[in-house]
Structure formats: C-alpha cells, structure tokens
C-alpha cells in the first residue's frame, strides 16, 4: 500500500470513529482533484461544484460501510462518476451545441499596426480554440464514453484504475475507450484543418 493510501486509510478510520477533522482533512486533500475531474466531465463550474459537494456528502453517508478494499481515491472517483451520471439521467432535456466552426486566416488591418513578435499570440488563440472544440466534442459523447476519455486522457488513469473505479472488466474499458475515440474523431472531422495547424 502506498504512503498516500495508508494515510487516507488512517483518516478514514478516524472519520469512522466520528473525528470530524479527519473528514475535513480528506475533503481538503481531494476537493481540487475531484473538482478538476467533475469539471472535465461537465465543463460547468456550477455543475462541477455541485457534483463534488454531493460526492462528499455520499462519502460522509457511506463512510461507516467503507471497508478499505479499494483505495479512497478509487472509491471517490466511483462516487463522482455516479453523481455525474445521476445528474445527467435527470437532465433529460439537455441540448448539445453546434460545432460547425471554421478557422480562417486572412490579412487583417492590424497587421500594419502590430509588429511581428518572436512568440505568436495567434498560436495561443488557435490552441485555445482547438481545446475548446475538443471539449465541446467531448460534451457530445454519451456519458459513458466521455468518462472513459476524461479518466484516461485528462486524468491519466491506467486501464486498471479505470476498471477498478467503474467496476468494469479491462477489456470493456479498452473497447469503450476505442469507441469513444472513434466517435470523437467523427465529431471533430469537420474541424480537421484546425487540428493540422502547428
């Protein structure tokens, strides 16, 4: 067991005995990572914050039953994923947004007024736009595919970690991930030119 996992287990055991400061410590330790994961799934600060808050409430309610068979972080990911899926189930009228965007390059009048720079702020704008479209495309994926992409690519979890967090066989994780990538490719294909730049 890693040092971090052992420390978490001690905090959980203290929290199970009613030590509120131990629970607070767990919250402090994991709230940022939890938020980042939730935000990557939702792209909404408001929704991500609510998912994280709800997840910690579920942690609090389920603490007496936590046996330590899995690491706290794995358990938390599972709870966060369930909170996210529960919310999405209820959000039946959610609509997706248009991706019909194009990147154009042309000479603008500012060219005369702004000197060439050694570093290219335009590249930053393109890079940001590219990321924005990837995130928009992710929002169009079914929830179960999006969580695969987010966990593997953004959170950099291993197949084993994802399988443990989602309680799925590794083969299912791999095939879902491949399908998610293919779907993403399909959604992003109209923007392919933007992704060839740089």
């Amino acid at each position: 067991m890693s040092e971090r996992a052992a420390e978490d287990l001690m905090l959980i055991q203290r929290a199970q005995r009613g030590d509120k400061s131990a629970l607070n410590e767990l919250v402090r330790k994991y709230e940022q990572r939890a938020y980042q994961f939730a935000f990557r799934l939702t792209r909404s600060p408001e929704e991500a914050s609510d998912i994280v808050a709800e997840a910690f409430v579920r942690v609090y309610n389920a603490l007496p039953n936590f046996k330590g068979n899995s690491q706290f972080s794995t358990w938390l990911y599972r709870i966060l994923t369930n909170c996210f899926l529960d919310i999405r189930k209820k959000e039946s009228r959610r609509q997706t947004s248009s991706l019909e965007s194009a990147m154009t390059t042309e000479d603008g009048e500012l060219e005369r007024q702004v000197e060439d720079e050694t570093q290219d702020p335009h590249a930053d704008v393109v890079s940001n736009e590219r990321m924005r479209r990837v995130h928009n495309a992710l929002q169009k994926l079914p929830d179960y595919q999006r969580q695969m992409i987010v966990m593997y690519h953004a959170e950099q979890k291993s197949y084993e970690d994802i399988a443990a967090a989602l309680d799925l066989p590794i083969g299912t994780v791999k095939s879902r991930l491949n399908r998610a990538r293919l779907s993403l490719r399909e959604i992003l294909s109209p923007d392919e030119e933007l992704f060839r730049i740089g």
Binding site: E54, F56, T104, V114, P121, N178, R185, E192, F195
Partner: protein, 291 residues
C-alpha cells in the same frame, strides 16, 4: 487484409503499439490498400494528438467550492442527527396510541422534509439558466489576472485578429471564454470584432518599458501605455489611424492617457470582474471617443 470495421476496432491498439507483429502486419497492409481507411486513421491520429493536450489544461477551482462542500456536509450531518432524534427520542417517550400516531406523523413529515430538501438541492443543481442567451461579449479577467473575452449567444461569432492572423470563434449555447494571452516581452494588440462592433485590446507583455516618449497611431499609443504601466488597454469605437505624440510622465496610466490624448478621446479606468468568480480585479484603461 482486415475488414474496415475490424480495423477500426484496432485503431487504438495500433496507435499505442499494442498489436502483435502478425496483427500489426495485417493492419499495415489494410491501411496501405484502403485509402479511405487510411484517411480515417490519419484523422484518428489527429484526435489522439489533440487528446494528449487535455492534461495540460489549467482548471481553476472556484473559491466557493470549499464553502459549498462544507455547507452540504453540515446539512447532511444535521439531517442525520435530526432523523435519529425523531426515531429514537420520540419512540421512547411516546407511550400511548394517540402519541404513537403523532410520532408516525412526525416521522412521515421528517421523511417528507428530507425528500423535500433533496428536491431543493436537485433544483439547485439544475437551476442555472441553460437556455439560449442573447449575443453578448464582455472583457473579464481570471483568478490569475489577465484579460479574457467572455462571449455567448448561439449563432453569433467573435473574430480575433492578431499579427495579421484571424481566428473566428463561433459562439454557442452558454458562455465561452477565450483568454487573450501575450507571452512576449512587449505589449500586443488584439482586434476583437463582435456583432458589428470593434475593439482593440492591448495586452501588456512580460516586461515594462522604460521608454516614455514616442509618436504613432492610437494602437501604438495603447501599446506604449501598456508597456509603460503594465495595464491592459481597450480602444473602443475610435479611429485608430489618428496620430499622437506622447510623453508618459504621469504616475498613473489613466492620467497619462488623459494628458496625452487631448480632447479627442476620453480615458477611464474599468475594473474587469473575474470569471470564474474570484477576488481578482484587473484594471483596464478604456479609451473611447469624446462625444
């Protein structure tokens, strides 16, 4: 040769080098023979490259997160204590049928109250407006400072031109934010066009310039101002070709702008609010025609 569908199932393994040599050979041959599949695989590679950038995203945690978690945990704790009080305390005290009936009512109302709270929380989760908003654009800052363009309104678009290159940002449902980043030492001007309106936003570079005098057009003046004081500058609805000579001897950028622009333009200080919400405020110097 593999069937296209089978080959697509293997894209990830092929990309990540996890196929055995026989399967890799079959995949190589299939991609060589099938141009459409090869094109699909090329765009799959681009997707994978884009996904590789995902971990680099900086996600700012809202300041209210800790408070929200604490509030929800306190509510959960109070509910738990309350329900135990009702269940145990009430059951032991009430001894006759009439009071037992009352206990049942309290219990039911307690459960109802918990469910009501649950509904309220759920409503809170979905209470924010996700319907199409009218087209809008606003300059904001972020928790780490800087200048960001926040825009929204499905169907509208924002054009950002810098260094002669233009990027078209399509507004969608909800709000989008694009930071105007300048990694250079000197200030850079971004032309931001939206809904028929144009603004030049000058973002300071990493260094401050000791040079206080100069002459040039309005954009060059804006850059000199940003270089000297480190403040972003917005030039709105003004003729950027007008020429000025300047001496930035004042201690504050707004005073310097007022002193050097004469009557043609007015300079004011605009505080950019942070999005997402934080305590950060960025002061921008706004230059507009003096009507």
């Amino acid at each position: 040769m593999l069937k296209p569908e089978k080959a697509r199932e293997l894209f990830s393994d092929y990309y990540e080098g996890r196929l055995d040599s026989a399967m890799k050979g079959a995949m190589d041959a299939t991609l060589y023979a099938d141009r459409e599949l090869k094109s699909d695989y090329r765009s799959f590679e681009l997707t994978m490259q884009a996904l590789a950038e995902l971990p680099e995203e900086v996600i700012e945690v809202p300041q209210y997160l800790s408070t929200r978690i604490a509030t929800r945990l306190e509510e959960a704790q109070a509910k738990r204590e309350q329900s135990w009080t009702h269940l145990l305390g009430g059951w032991l005290r009430w001894r006759n049928v009439a009071t037992a009936a009352l206990a049942l009512m309290v219990l039911v109302s307690g459960l109802f109250s918990i469910n009501s709270d649950a509904r309220t929380n759920v409503a809170g989760l979905f209470g924010f407006d996700k319907t199409a908003a009218p087209a809008s654009l606003e300059l904001v800052t972020g928790p780490q400072g800087g200048v960001r363009v926040m825009y929204g309104g499905e169907g509208s678009e924002v054009r950002i031109t810098v260094g002669g290159k233009q990027t078209v940002l399509k507004a969608e449902r909800g709000r989008q934010i694009t930071p105007l980043e300048n990694p250079n030492r000197r200030a850079v001007a971004f032309l931001v066009e939206f809904a028929g309106k144009r603004s030049v936003v000058v973002v300071p570079g990493t260094d401050r310039s000791p040079r206080r005098t100069g002459e040039g057009n309005l954009v060059e003046f804006g850059r000199a101002l940003a270089d000297a004081y480190g403040s972003p500058v917005e030039i709105r609805d003004a003729n950027t070709e007008d020429r000025y000579a300047w001496n930035l001897a004042q201690t504050q950028p707004a005073e310097a702008a007022k002193a050097n622009l004469g009557d043609r333009l007015q300079a004011s200080v605009k505080e950019l609010r942070s999005e997402p919400s934080s305590g950060t405020l960025t002061r921008l110097i706004l230059l507009t025609p003096n009507n």
